[in-house]
Amino acid sequence: MLETTAKEFNLGSLLKDLPTQIDKLNEFRKLVLTDAVLLGEIPSPTFNEEDRIRLTVDRFRENGLEGPEIDEHGNASAILHGTEGRSSILVMAHADSVFDANTQHVLNVGPDTITGPGISDNAIGLATVVALPKLLEMLGIKFKDDLIFLANTKSLGRGNLDGARYFLDTMKRPIRAGVCVEGASQGRLSYSGLGTLRGEIRLEIPGNYDWNRFGSSGAVGQLTRVVNQLLEIPLPKEPKTKMILGGLSCGTTYNKTPKRGILRFEITSEEDQVIEDLRQKVDDLCEQCSLENGTKVYLEVVATRPNCGIPFTHPLVKATRSIMSELGVTPEVNPSTGDLNVLIEAGHPGVTLGLTTAENIGEENESLHLEPLPAGIAQLITLLQAIDMGLCES
């Protein structure tokens, strides 16, 4: 009881500093915005993040961190040594983007917004992690713990969180807690990882296909049947389960019957067994389509994540909610399908935070709002201070 009171008192003193910190961060925000533009204009599709990572490492060095490293998976990391260094706090942001190298990576800077591909997901998140050592120095904040800064690669899509997973698998230091930083949206609070399966149903029509057979059709027709049958699969309401058909590619022109196609989908569920059962159903459906239609239809699983999480009542989550409440932000509790999964899977308590608000996320005209950003960064710094002070441990 006495300990709880002391923790609350300490958190209260941190919360009191928030308005001053926001004012100062508003003065320093150009540091973060500059890095967001310079990093964001370097194309960084999943599996090809090298150029963005190279600048990240330069920036870690320029911001006062000694010996930043790039590991075998291309992750960049660096350490800010604490005054005691008994434990470490991990701050991470994914360095990859959904946009390929052919996309024109030009960002437009207006007085209130920055607009362009990937600015919110996740150039601004990465820039904040990169600028953090400098911001802490400018704010005069020191930590007892070591802070580990990580720009992880191979996070999205087929990357399947491989960069962060490799980093955490090979990490030797004791990690007290971790915070995943995303550009949007402010108020985001993820403390659990949602069980996920991402897959591709691939359809190929063989060269000896009998076009006179009853019901024969090209890849478009065949995939349409697959889609209809997928939509017939019943999904439970409890545990919550969802299937998204996210992409369909088939054919190249108007007047040629395509012989290949791909359907991309994602299944998420609060129960791992439900995902496994659905995977089996999709597999059976593919086999049925193959045999009934004389085509080759098969499922390729490109990414999987088990359910994981820390409780809503965990002190790390409580501290995060208190900070958001002080900022007047209503938490949006959503399970993550991103880097947080591997952090929690590896046994470390963690949360994912969003820094500011944005529009058109995932589109080339993605637009980031600048006004809420200082508060979003103050939220992150205050949470790290709370972890450092031992206020987020059960």
Binding site: K30, L33, T34, V37, L38, L107, N108, P111
Partner: protein, 326 residues
């Protein structure tokens, strides 16, 4: 290519990558007691000015103090150019407020000229406001040769404009006006100046001592006149050029380029007059000079183009006989 041209190209052509260590540049600048001013001339550039101010101020004034002074000099924008620039910390001026007793003329050259009066630097760097992929290299790449080499007075930017990647060879040059107007004119009248790969690029840096002694056309001819006037006074050795890689900017219409060419031609012909070349036109050169890049090395290619002329057919005896026989 002559030996002198090759030597100049080798010694006075740089790549911005040679100057990546900005801290080293700052130390050298301070050791030499130099002050550097950056000027961006603007007219309705609200879409790109925010990023230019953010990146250049943040990187080259706050992180590394290479630039001592940074000003936007505006021709009377009707959009939010000045508001956006101010929001990112730029000092903004209206060209009409500078030296008002000299009157107010409208054009980019006017802003560049008035910048000499307004700014205090020993070196003034000019960067156009319409660059979409702005990066600190657009400034440090240009001022570095002036910091390192006392004899260099004026540094021009040039950019990567690849026309042919597949063969490993690529033509390197400027935009359409450079290639179809300036390069042919220089090849005819000032063959040595063809060593400047992109004579019309809007980014350059120069010492105050040379900027204050040359006239400034207020419009399109300002880049051309700088080259012609400084070449006459100091020769090619006063120039250097830096490869700044790629520049992304808005594309101009053919009509706009025609207008630009008209302005440049006026400046050029004025220089021919004042340098006594138009009244006593010398034997014109017959070699057309252009560039090719091979394995990172710039080579000037010369090609003889003799525009021989045929007399009117009516004067040809064979033709006259044909007329008679029919």
């Amino acid at each position: 290519m002559t030996g002198d041209n090759k030597k100049w190209l080798d010694q006075n052509t740089f790549h911005h990558g040679e100057f990546w260590d900005i801290l080293k540049l700052v130390k050298e600048k301070e050791k030499k007691g130099l002050k550097i001013s950056l000027c961006i001339p603007t007219l309705n550039e609200e879409k790109t000015i925010g990023k230019e101010v953010l990146i250049l101020r943040s990187e080259l004034m706050e992180r590394y103090p290479l630039i001592d002074e940074f000003a936007i000099i505006d021709s009377g924008s009707e959009d939010k150019t000045l508001e956006v620039a101010s929001s990112y910390g730029a000092d903004t001026y209206l060209a009409s407020d500078i030296l008002p007793e000299e009157g107010d003329k409208r054009g980019k050259g006017e802003n560049l000229w008035k910048a000499i009066h307004q700014l205090k630097g020993d070196i003034i760097c000019y960067v156009d406001a319409d660059i979409s992929n702005i990066h600190p290299r657009f400034v440090y790449g240009l001022v570095a040769p002036l910091i390192h080499r006392a004899e260099v007075q004026y540094v021009k930017a040039f950019y990567d404009r690849p026309l042919n990647y597949s063969s490993g060879l690529r033509s390197s040059g400027g935009g359409r006006v450079t290639e179809i107007l300036i390069r042919p004119l220089f090849s005819l009248f000032y063959p040595e100046l063809t060593n400047i790969i992109q004579p019309l690029s809007g980014e350059y840096a120069a010492r105050r001592e040379v900027l204050e002694i040359i006239p400034f056309p207020i419009g399109y001819g300002v880049e051309t006149s700088h080259l012609l006037d400084l070449y006459l006074k100091f020769g090619l050795d006063a120039f250097a050029q830096t490869d700044l890689d790629r520049r992304v900017h808005r594309n101009q219409t053919t009509n706009a380029l025609g207008k630009m060419s008209f302005g440049i031609l006026q400046t050029f012909i004025n220089r021919l007059h004042s340098q006594g070349k138009i009244d006593r036109i010398p034997d014109m050169e017959t070699f057309y000079r252009r560039f090719q890049v091979e394995d990172g090395s710039y080579n000037q290619l010369t090609q003889e183009v003799v525009e021989e002329e045929r007399r009117p057919m009516i004067e040809v005896a064979g033709y006259q006989n044909r007329e008679l026989s029919s």
